[in-house]
Symmetry: C2
Subunit: 241 residues, 2 copies
Protein backbone atom coordinates (compact mmCIF):
# COMPACT_ATOMS: atom_id res chain seq x y z
CA UNK A 1 0.00 0.00 0.00
CA UNK A 2 1.26 3.49 -0.72
CA UNK A 3 2.52 5.78 2.02
CA UNK A 4 -0.32 8.23 2.55
CA UNK A 5 1.92 10.61 4.51
CA UNK A 6 3.57 11.49 1.18
CA UNK A 7 0.31 12.92 -0.14
CA UNK A 8 -0.36 16.63 0.38
CA UNK A 9 -2.51 17.31 -2.70
CA UNK A 10 -5.62 15.44 -3.81
CA UNK A 11 -6.34 16.10 -7.50
CA UNK A 12 -9.89 15.27 -8.52
CA UNK A 13 -11.34 14.63 -11.95
CA UNK A 14 -14.65 16.40 -12.60
CA UNK A 15 -16.78 15.07 -15.51
CA UNK A 16 -18.12 11.68 -14.46
CA UNK A 17 -16.17 11.58 -11.20
CA UNK A 18 -17.78 14.40 -9.19
CA UNK A 19 -20.63 15.37 -11.54
CA UNK A 20 -23.07 13.34 -13.65
CA UNK A 21 -22.29 14.75 -17.10
CA UNK A 22 -24.70 12.42 -18.90
CA UNK A 23 -27.79 13.39 -16.95
CA UNK A 24 -26.84 17.07 -16.96
CA UNK A 25 -26.22 17.30 -20.70
CA UNK A 26 -29.32 15.24 -21.46
CA UNK A 27 -31.47 17.51 -19.27
CA UNK A 28 -29.95 20.55 -20.96
CA UNK A 29 -30.72 19.24 -24.44
CA UNK A 30 -34.25 18.20 -23.56
CA UNK A 31 -35.00 21.60 -22.02
CA UNK A 32 -34.07 23.46 -25.17
CA UNK A 33 -34.59 21.07 -28.05
CA UNK A 34 -37.91 19.56 -28.93
CA UNK A 35 -36.49 18.17 -32.15
CA UNK A 36 -37.28 14.62 -32.95
CA UNK A 37 -34.01 12.77 -32.38
CA UNK A 38 -32.68 10.32 -29.83
CA UNK A 39 -31.17 12.71 -27.28
CA UNK A 40 -29.49 9.99 -25.22
CA UNK A 41 -27.85 8.39 -28.25
CA UNK A 42 -26.61 11.79 -29.37
CA UNK A 43 -25.11 12.58 -25.96
CA UNK A 44 -23.37 9.20 -25.87
CA UNK A 45 -21.99 9.64 -29.38
CA UNK A 46 -20.91 13.17 -28.50
CA UNK A 47 -18.94 11.99 -25.46
CA UNK A 48 -17.37 9.16 -27.51
CA UNK A 49 -15.68 11.74 -29.73
CA UNK A 50 -13.97 13.49 -26.85
CA UNK A 51 -10.96 11.27 -26.10
CA UNK A 52 -9.95 10.81 -29.76
CA UNK A 53 -10.15 14.59 -30.26
CA UNK A 54 -7.95 15.45 -27.28
CA UNK A 55 -5.52 12.68 -28.27
CA UNK A 56 -5.05 14.47 -31.61
CA UNK A 57 -4.29 17.69 -29.74
CA UNK A 58 -1.86 15.97 -27.38
CA UNK A 59 -0.01 14.39 -30.30
CA UNK A 60 0.41 17.78 -31.98
CA UNK A 61 -1.68 16.65 -34.96
CA UNK A 62 -4.13 19.43 -34.10
CA UNK A 63 -3.59 22.85 -32.58
CA UNK A 64 -4.62 23.55 -29.01
CA UNK A 65 -8.33 24.09 -28.51
CA UNK A 66 -10.11 24.13 -25.20
CA UNK A 67 -12.91 21.70 -24.36
CA UNK A 68 -15.69 24.08 -25.44
CA UNK A 69 -14.23 24.18 -28.93
CA UNK A 70 -13.67 20.40 -28.96
CA UNK A 71 -17.30 19.90 -27.89
CA UNK A 72 -18.61 22.27 -30.53
CA UNK A 73 -16.80 20.52 -33.36
CA UNK A 74 -17.82 17.07 -32.11
CA UNK A 75 -21.44 18.25 -31.84
CA UNK A 76 -21.47 19.38 -35.46
CA UNK A 77 -20.15 15.95 -36.48
CA UNK A 78 -22.73 14.10 -34.38
CA UNK A 79 -25.67 16.13 -35.63
CA UNK A 80 -24.59 15.47 -39.21
CA UNK A 81 -24.16 11.77 -38.45
CA UNK A 82 -27.62 11.62 -36.88
CA UNK A 83 -29.12 13.50 -39.82
CA UNK A 84 -30.41 16.24 -37.54
CA UNK A 85 -30.91 19.54 -39.34
CA UNK A 86 -32.46 22.90 -38.49
CA UNK A 87 -30.28 23.64 -35.48
CA UNK A 88 -28.63 27.02 -35.98
CA UNK A 89 -25.32 28.26 -34.59
CA UNK A 90 -26.91 29.92 -31.58
CA UNK A 91 -28.77 26.73 -30.62
CA UNK A 92 -25.56 24.71 -31.04
CA UNK A 93 -23.76 27.14 -28.75
CA UNK A 94 -26.53 26.60 -26.18
CA UNK A 95 -26.08 22.84 -26.53
CA UNK A 96 -22.36 23.18 -25.83
CA UNK A 97 -23.27 25.26 -22.76
CA UNK A 98 -25.22 22.28 -21.42
CA UNK A 99 -21.78 20.99 -20.30
CA UNK A 100 -21.47 24.00 -17.95
CA UNK A 101 -24.33 23.05 -15.59
CA UNK A 102 -24.13 19.47 -14.35
CA UNK A 103 -25.56 17.86 -11.22
CA UNK A 104 -23.12 16.56 -8.60
CA UNK A 105 -23.08 12.91 -7.57
CA UNK A 106 -24.82 12.81 -4.18
CA UNK A 107 -21.69 12.14 -2.10
CA UNK A 108 -19.34 14.58 -3.85
CA UNK A 109 -19.84 17.83 -1.89
CA UNK A 110 -19.66 16.14 1.52
CA UNK A 111 -16.73 13.92 0.59
CA UNK A 112 -14.72 16.81 -0.86
CA UNK A 113 -15.35 18.86 2.28
CA UNK A 114 -13.98 15.99 4.37
CA UNK A 115 -10.92 15.60 2.15
CA UNK A 116 -10.23 19.35 2.37
CA UNK A 117 -9.72 19.05 6.12
CA UNK A 118 -6.63 16.92 5.52
CA UNK A 119 -5.37 17.84 2.04
CA UNK A 120 -5.18 20.61 -0.51
CA UNK A 121 -7.97 19.44 -2.84
CA UNK A 122 -7.95 20.67 -6.42
CA UNK A 123 -10.02 19.90 -9.48
CA UNK A 124 -7.76 18.55 -12.25
CA UNK A 125 -9.85 18.26 -15.37
CA UNK A 126 -9.78 18.49 -19.14
CA UNK A 127 -12.59 21.06 -19.00
CA UNK A 128 -11.85 24.67 -19.90
CA UNK A 129 -10.97 26.93 -16.97
CA UNK A 130 -14.12 29.06 -17.16
CA UNK A 131 -16.25 26.00 -17.82
CA UNK A 132 -14.88 24.24 -14.74
CA UNK A 133 -15.47 27.32 -12.57
CA UNK A 134 -19.12 27.30 -13.65
CA UNK A 135 -19.59 23.54 -13.32
CA UNK A 136 -18.06 23.43 -9.85
CA UNK A 137 -19.99 26.44 -8.60
CA UNK A 138 -23.27 25.26 -10.11
CA UNK A 139 -22.88 21.81 -8.56
CA UNK A 140 -22.10 23.29 -5.15
CA UNK A 141 -18.69 21.61 -4.95
CA UNK A 142 -15.89 23.14 -2.93
CA UNK A 143 -12.30 22.91 -4.17
CA UNK A 144 -9.23 24.75 -2.93
CA UNK A 145 -8.34 25.56 -6.53
CA UNK A 146 -9.18 24.57 -10.09
CA UNK A 147 -6.52 23.36 -12.50
CA UNK A 148 -7.67 23.03 -16.09
CA UNK A 149 -5.99 21.41 -19.09
CA UNK A 150 -6.02 24.99 -20.36
CA UNK A 151 -3.67 26.02 -17.52
CA UNK A 152 -1.21 23.23 -18.16
CA UNK A 153 -1.26 23.16 -21.95
CA UNK A 154 -2.02 19.45 -22.34
CA UNK A 155 -4.94 17.10 -21.87
CA UNK A 156 -5.07 14.10 -19.57
CA UNK A 157 -4.03 11.28 -20.00
CA UNK A 158 -0.88 12.86 -21.47
CA UNK A 159 1.90 12.81 -18.85
CA UNK A 160 2.44 16.53 -19.27
CA UNK A 161 -1.06 17.26 -17.97
CA UNK A 162 -0.20 15.66 -14.62
CA UNK A 163 3.42 16.80 -14.39
CA UNK A 164 2.57 20.42 -15.23
CA UNK A 165 -0.19 20.38 -12.64
CA UNK A 166 2.25 19.13 -9.97
CA UNK A 167 4.64 21.90 -10.99
CA UNK A 168 1.89 24.53 -10.73
CA UNK A 169 1.04 23.18 -7.27
CA UNK A 170 4.74 23.21 -6.32
CA UNK A 171 4.87 19.53 -5.31
CA UNK A 172 6.48 16.33 -6.56
CA UNK A 173 4.28 13.84 -8.47
CA UNK A 174 4.42 11.39 -5.52
CA UNK A 175 2.85 14.07 -3.31
CA UNK A 176 -0.34 13.97 -5.39
CA UNK A 177 -3.24 11.52 -5.22
CA UNK A 178 -5.29 11.54 -8.44
CA UNK A 179 -8.93 10.59 -7.94
CA UNK A 180 -10.92 9.52 -11.00
CA UNK A 181 -13.68 7.23 -12.23
CA UNK A 182 -11.90 6.39 -15.50
CA UNK A 183 -9.29 3.76 -16.24
CA UNK A 184 -7.46 6.01 -18.71
CA UNK A 185 -7.10 8.79 -16.14
CA UNK A 186 -5.77 6.43 -13.46
CA UNK A 187 -3.24 4.98 -15.93
CA UNK A 188 -2.12 8.43 -17.06
CA UNK A 189 -1.69 9.63 -13.49
CA UNK A 190 0.28 6.50 -12.49
CA UNK A 191 2.50 6.91 -15.51
CA UNK A 192 3.32 10.44 -14.32
CA UNK A 193 4.20 9.20 -10.82
CA UNK A 194 1.03 10.21 -9.00
CA UNK A 195 -0.67 7.99 -6.47
CA UNK A 196 -4.17 7.04 -7.61
CA UNK A 197 -7.62 6.38 -6.21
CA UNK A 198 -10.55 5.06 -8.22
CA UNK A 199 -14.07 6.14 -7.30
CA UNK A 200 -16.68 3.91 -8.92
CA UNK A 201 -19.55 5.60 -10.75
CA UNK A 202 -21.60 2.67 -12.09
CA UNK A 203 -24.23 4.92 -13.70
CA UNK A 204 -21.84 7.26 -15.46
CA UNK A 205 -22.45 5.96 -18.97
CA UNK A 206 -26.17 5.41 -18.55
CA UNK A 207 -28.26 2.29 -18.07
CA UNK A 208 -27.07 0.38 -21.15
CA UNK A 209 -23.31 0.75 -21.07
CA UNK A 210 -20.96 -0.48 -18.36
CA UNK A 211 -18.84 2.10 -16.58
CA UNK A 212 -15.15 1.61 -15.85
CA UNK A 213 -14.41 -0.29 -12.66
CA UNK A 214 -11.50 -0.26 -10.24
CA UNK A 215 -10.76 -3.85 -11.25
CA UNK A 216 -9.62 -2.62 -14.69
CA UNK A 217 -6.90 -0.54 -13.11
CA UNK A 218 -3.89 -0.84 -10.87
CA UNK A 219 -5.02 2.02 -8.68
CA UNK A 220 -3.60 2.37 -5.14
CA UNK A 221 -7.03 2.66 -3.59
CA UNK A 222 -10.63 2.00 -4.65
CA UNK A 223 -13.74 3.61 -3.16
CA UNK A 224 -17.44 3.67 -3.90
CA UNK A 225 -17.93 7.37 -3.11
CA UNK A 226 -16.03 10.47 -2.01
CA UNK A 227 -17.12 10.05 1.60
CA UNK A 228 -15.89 6.45 1.42
CA UNK A 229 -12.60 7.70 -0.03
CA UNK A 230 -12.18 10.23 2.80
CA UNK A 231 -12.83 7.48 5.36
CA UNK A 232 -10.38 5.10 3.72
CA UNK A 233 -7.62 7.69 3.55
CA UNK A 234 -8.12 8.56 7.21
CA UNK A 235 -8.07 4.90 8.23
CA UNK A 236 -4.96 4.33 6.17
CA UNK A 237 -3.23 7.30 7.75
CA UNK A 238 -4.16 6.17 11.24
CA UNK A 239 -2.84 2.68 10.52
CA UNK A 240 0.46 4.08 9.21
CA UNK A 241 1.11 6.50 12.07
CA UNK B 1 -21.97 55.17 -12.41
CA UNK B 2 -21.13 51.94 -14.20
CA UNK B 3 -23.78 49.46 -15.27
CA UNK B 4 -23.51 46.68 -12.70
CA UNK B 5 -25.60 44.31 -14.85
CA UNK B 6 -22.56 44.04 -17.14
CA UNK B 7 -20.52 42.45 -14.35
CA UNK B 8 -20.52 38.65 -14.07
CA UNK B 9 -17.04 38.14 -12.60
CA UNK B 10 -15.57 39.81 -9.51
CA UNK B 11 -11.76 39.54 -9.52
CA UNK B 12 -10.19 40.12 -6.14
CA UNK B 13 -6.64 41.03 -5.23
CA UNK B 14 -5.21 39.02 -2.33
CA UNK B 15 -2.11 40.48 -0.57
CA UNK B 16 -3.24 43.57 1.35
CA UNK B 17 -6.80 43.44 0.01
CA UNK B 18 -8.17 40.25 1.58
CA UNK B 19 -5.23 39.30 3.83
CA UNK B 20 -2.93 41.30 6.10
CA UNK B 21 0.44 40.41 4.57
CA UNK B 22 2.41 42.69 6.92
CA UNK B 23 1.16 41.18 10.15
CA UNK B 24 1.40 37.66 8.74
CA UNK B 25 4.95 37.94 7.48
CA UNK B 26 6.04 39.76 10.63
CA UNK B 27 4.54 37.03 12.83
CA UNK B 28 6.22 34.39 10.67
CA UNK B 29 9.64 36.04 11.00
CA UNK B 30 9.31 36.59 14.72
CA UNK B 31 8.31 32.97 15.29
CA UNK B 32 11.42 31.62 13.62
CA UNK B 33 14.09 34.28 13.95
CA UNK B 34 15.43 35.53 17.22
CA UNK B 35 18.15 37.46 15.44
CA UNK B 36 18.71 40.98 16.51
CA UNK B 37 17.37 43.09 13.64
CA UNK B 38 14.35 45.31 13.08
CA UNK B 39 11.83 42.79 11.75
CA UNK B 40 9.22 45.39 10.80
CA UNK B 41 11.71 47.51 8.88
CA UNK B 42 12.93 44.42 7.05
CA UNK B 43 9.40 43.36 6.08
CA UNK B 44 8.63 46.87 4.80
CA UNK B 45 11.84 47.02 2.79
CA UNK B 46 11.16 43.53 1.45
CA UNK B 47 7.71 44.52 0.21
CA UNK B 48 9.11 47.73 -1.35
CA UNK B 49 11.24 45.64 -3.69
CA UNK B 50 8.28 43.73 -5.08
CA UNK B 51 6.77 46.14 -7.62
CA UNK B 52 10.10 47.17 -9.18
CA UNK B 53 11.03 43.47 -9.55
CA UNK B 54 7.79 42.47 -11.29
CA UNK B 55 8.03 45.59 -13.50
CA UNK B 56 11.38 44.28 -14.75
CA UNK B 57 9.75 40.97 -15.57
CA UNK B 58 6.80 42.61 -17.32
CA UNK B 59 9.15 44.72 -19.43
CA UNK B 60 11.07 41.64 -20.58
CA UNK B 61 14.24 42.91 -18.90
CA UNK B 62 14.16 39.81 -16.69
CA UNK B 63 12.92 36.30 -17.36
CA UNK B 64 9.70 35.05 -15.85
CA UNK B 65 9.96 34.07 -12.19
CA UNK B 66 7.06 33.43 -9.88
CA UNK B 67 6.51 35.43 -6.72
CA UNK B 68 8.33 32.93 -4.48
CA UNK B 69 11.49 33.42 -6.54
CA UNK B 70 11.02 37.21 -6.60
CA UNK B 71 10.59 37.19 -2.82
CA UNK B 72 13.67 35.05 -2.29
CA UNK B 73 15.92 37.32 -4.32
CA UNK B 74 14.52 40.47 -2.67
CA UNK B 75 15.05 38.90 0.76
CA UNK B 76 18.71 38.23 0.02
CA UNK B 77 19.13 41.88 -1.01
CA UNK B 78 17.34 43.17 2.10
CA UNK B 79 19.33 41.00 4.50
CA UNK B 80 22.56 42.23 2.91
CA UNK B 81 21.32 45.83 3.09
CA UNK B 82 20.42 45.43 6.76
CA UNK B 83 23.76 43.80 7.49
CA UNK B 84 22.08 40.65 8.81
CA UNK B 85 24.28 37.59 8.59
CA UNK B 86 24.09 34.01 9.80
CA UNK B 87 20.81 33.11 8.10
CA UNK B 88 21.34 30.03 5.99
CA UNK B 89 19.50 28.95 2.83
CA UNK B 90 17.04 26.79 4.72
CA UNK B 91 16.11 29.62 7.07
CA UNK B 92 15.72 31.99 4.12
CA UNK B 93 13.39 29.50 2.46
CA UNK B 94 11.34 29.42 5.67
CA UNK B 95 11.20 33.23 5.63
CA UNK B 96 9.86 33.17 2.06
CA UNK B 97 7.25 30.64 3.22
CA UNK B 98 6.00 33.22 5.74
CA UNK B 99 4.12 34.71 2.75
CA UNK B 100 2.08 31.48 2.47
CA UNK B 101 0.21 31.82 5.79
CA UNK B 102 -1.40 35.23 6.26
CA UNK B 103 -4.38 36.27 8.39
CA UNK B 104 -7.53 37.48 6.61
CA UNK B 105 -8.92 40.96 7.21
CA UNK B 106 -11.92 40.45 9.52
CA UNK B 107 -14.60 41.19 6.89
CA UNK B 108 -13.08 39.24 4.00
CA UNK B 109 -14.57 35.74 4.41
CA UNK B 110 -18.10 37.00 5.05
CA UNK B 111 -17.98 39.61 2.28
CA UNK B 112 -16.63 37.14 -0.28
CA UNK B 113 -19.37 34.65 0.62
CA UNK B 114 -21.96 37.38 -0.01
CA UNK B 115 -20.40 38.35 -3.33
CA UNK B 116 -20.35 34.70 -4.43
CA UNK B 117 -24.15 34.60 -4.24
CA UNK B 118 -24.34 37.08 -7.11
CA UNK B 119 -21.09 36.73 -9.05
CA UNK B 120 -18.34 34.35 -10.01
CA UNK B 121 -15.68 35.48 -7.55
CA UNK B 122 -12.05 34.72 -8.34
CA UNK B 123 -8.75 35.64 -6.75
CA UNK B 124 -6.60 37.56 -9.27
CA UNK B 125 -3.19 38.02 -7.72
CA UNK B 126 0.50 38.28 -8.46
CA UNK B 127 1.14 35.44 -6.02
CA UNK B 128 2.27 32.07 -7.35
CA UNK B 129 -0.52 29.56 -7.98
CA UNK B 130 0.46 27.15 -5.20
CA UNK B 131 1.21 30.04 -2.86
CA UNK B 132 -2.25 31.52 -3.44
CA UNK B 133 -3.94 28.17 -2.89
CA UNK B 134 -2.22 27.92 0.51
CA UNK B 135 -2.83 31.56 1.49
CA UNK B 136 -6.52 31.40 0.60
CA UNK B 137 -7.07 28.07 2.33
CA UNK B 138 -5.12 29.08 5.41
CA UNK B 139 -7.06 32.34 5.73
CA UNK B 140 -10.38 30.51 5.38
CA UNK B 141 -11.38 32.50 2.29
CA UNK B 142 -13.73 31.04 -0.29
CA UNK B 143 -13.20 31.77 -3.98
CA UNK B 144 -14.79 30.13 -6.99
CA UNK B 145 -11.35 29.88 -8.57
CA UNK B 146 -7.83 31.20 -8.26
CA UNK B 147 -6.08 32.98 -11.12
CA UNK B 148 -2.39 33.64 -10.57
CA UNK B 149 0.04 35.79 -12.53
CA UNK B 150 1.68 32.41 -13.16
CA UNK B 151 -1.42 31.29 -15.09
CA UNK B 152 -1.56 34.36 -17.27
CA UNK B 153 2.17 34.90 -17.87
CA UNK B 154 2.29 38.54 -16.73
CA UNK B 155 2.13 40.49 -13.49
CA UNK B 156 -0.40 43.14 -12.60
CA UNK B 157 -0.47 46.09 -13.34
CA UNK B 158 0.52 45.04 -16.88
CA UNK B 159 -2.56 45.07 -19.12
CA UNK B 160 -1.86 41.49 -20.20
CA UNK B 161 -2.40 40.26 -16.64
CA UNK B 162 -6.00 41.50 -16.70
CA UNK B 163 -6.77 40.72 -20.34
CA UNK B 164 -5.40 37.18 -20.11
CA UNK B 165 -7.45 36.61 -16.96
CA UNK B 166 -10.63 37.76 -18.73
CA UNK B 167 -9.79 35.38 -21.58
CA UNK B 168 -9.26 32.48 -19.18
CA UNK B 169 -12.62 33.29 -17.58
CA UNK B 170 -14.23 33.53 -21.03
CA UNK B 171 -15.63 37.05 -20.53
CA UNK B 172 -15.03 40.53 -21.93
CA UNK B 173 -13.02 42.99 -19.79
CA UNK B 174 -16.17 45.06 -19.10
CA UNK B 175 -17.76 41.97 -17.53
CA UNK B 176 -15.16 42.00 -14.75
CA UNK B 177 -15.04 44.10 -11.59
CA UNK B 178 -11.52 44.27 -10.16
CA UNK B 179 -11.43 44.76 -6.38
CA UNK B 180 -8.19 46.00 -4.84
CA UNK B 181 -6.72 48.13 -2.08
CA UNK B 182 -3.93 49.53 -4.26
CA UNK B 183 -3.96 52.51 -6.61
CA UNK B 184 -1.65 50.79 -9.11
CA UNK B 185 -3.94 47.76 -9.36
CA UNK B 186 -7.05 49.89 -9.90
CA UNK B 187 -5.27 51.88 -12.61
CA UNK B 188 -4.00 48.76 -14.35
CA UNK B 189 -7.44 47.17 -14.31
CA UNK B 190 -9.11 50.33 -15.66
CA UNK B 191 -6.54 50.54 -18.40
CA UNK B 192 -7.49 47.00 -19.44
CA UNK B 193 -11.20 47.86 -19.55
CA UNK B 194 -12.27 46.30 -16.24
CA UNK B 195 -14.67 48.00 -13.87
CA UNK B 196 -13.00 48.73 -10.53
CA UNK B 197 -13.81 48.84 -6.84
CA UNK B 198 -11.45 50.08 -4.17
CA UNK B 199 -11.55 48.54 -0.71
CA UNK B 200 -9.72 50.69 1.85
CA UNK B 201 -7.21 48.94 4.13
CA UNK B 202 -5.85 51.80 6.26
CA UNK B 203 -3.55 49.52 8.29
CA UNK B 204 -2.03 47.66 5.35
CA UNK B 205 1.39 49.32 5.51
CA UNK B 206 1.60 49.41 9.29
CA UNK B 207 1.19 52.22 11.79
CA UNK B 208 3.75 54.62 10.34
CA UNK B 209 3.03 54.62 6.63
CA UNK B 210 -0.20 55.74 4.96
CA UNK B 211 -2.05 53.18 2.87
CA UNK B 212 -3.48 53.96 -0.55
CA UNK B 213 -6.94 55.53 -0.49
CA UNK B 214 -9.84 55.49 -2.92
CA UNK B 215 -9.35 59.24 -3.38
CA UNK B 216 -6.08 58.56 -5.23
CA UNK B 217 -7.91 56.60 -7.88
CA UNK B 218 -10.69 56.94 -10.38
CA UNK B 219 -12.32 53.70 -9.28
CA UNK B 220 -16.01 53.07 -10.08
CA UNK B 221 -16.86 52.23 -6.50
CA UNK B 222 -15.23 52.66 -3.09
CA UNK B 223 -15.94 50.56 0.00
CA UNK B 224 -14.52 50.21 3.50
CA UNK B 225 -14.81 46.41 3.64
CA UNK B 226 -15.93 43.40 1.58
CA UNK B 227 -19.29 43.28 3.33
CA UNK B 228 -19.72 46.98 2.56
CA UNK B 229 -18.79 46.25 -1.07
CA UNK B 230 -21.36 43.45 -1.32
CA UNK B 231 -24.03 45.77 0.11
CA UNK B 232 -23.12 48.59 -2.28
CA UNK B 233 -23.20 46.32 -5.32
CA UNK B 234 -26.59 44.95 -4.30
CA UNK B 235 -28.00 48.45 -3.71
CA UNK B 236 -26.61 49.58 -7.05
CA UNK B 237 -28.15 46.64 -8.85
CA UNK B 238 -31.52 47.23 -7.19
CA UNK B 239 -31.43 50.91 -8.18
CA UNK B 240 -30.60 50.04 -11.79
CA UNK B 241 -33.26 47.37 -12.24
Amino acid sequence: MFDVSEVTVVAVDVFGTTVDWRRGVLDGLRAHHENDFDHAALVDAWRERYLPAVAQINSGEREWANLDAVHREALDQCLAEFGVSGIDAEARERMVRAWDALPPWPDAAEGLAELRRDFLVVALSNGGFAQLAHVVKGAGLGFDAIVSAENVGAYKPDRRAYLNAAKLLDVEPRNVLMVAAHTWDIHGARDAGFHTAFVERPGEKGPDRPADTAGNTDCDLAAVSFTDLADRLRALRDSQE
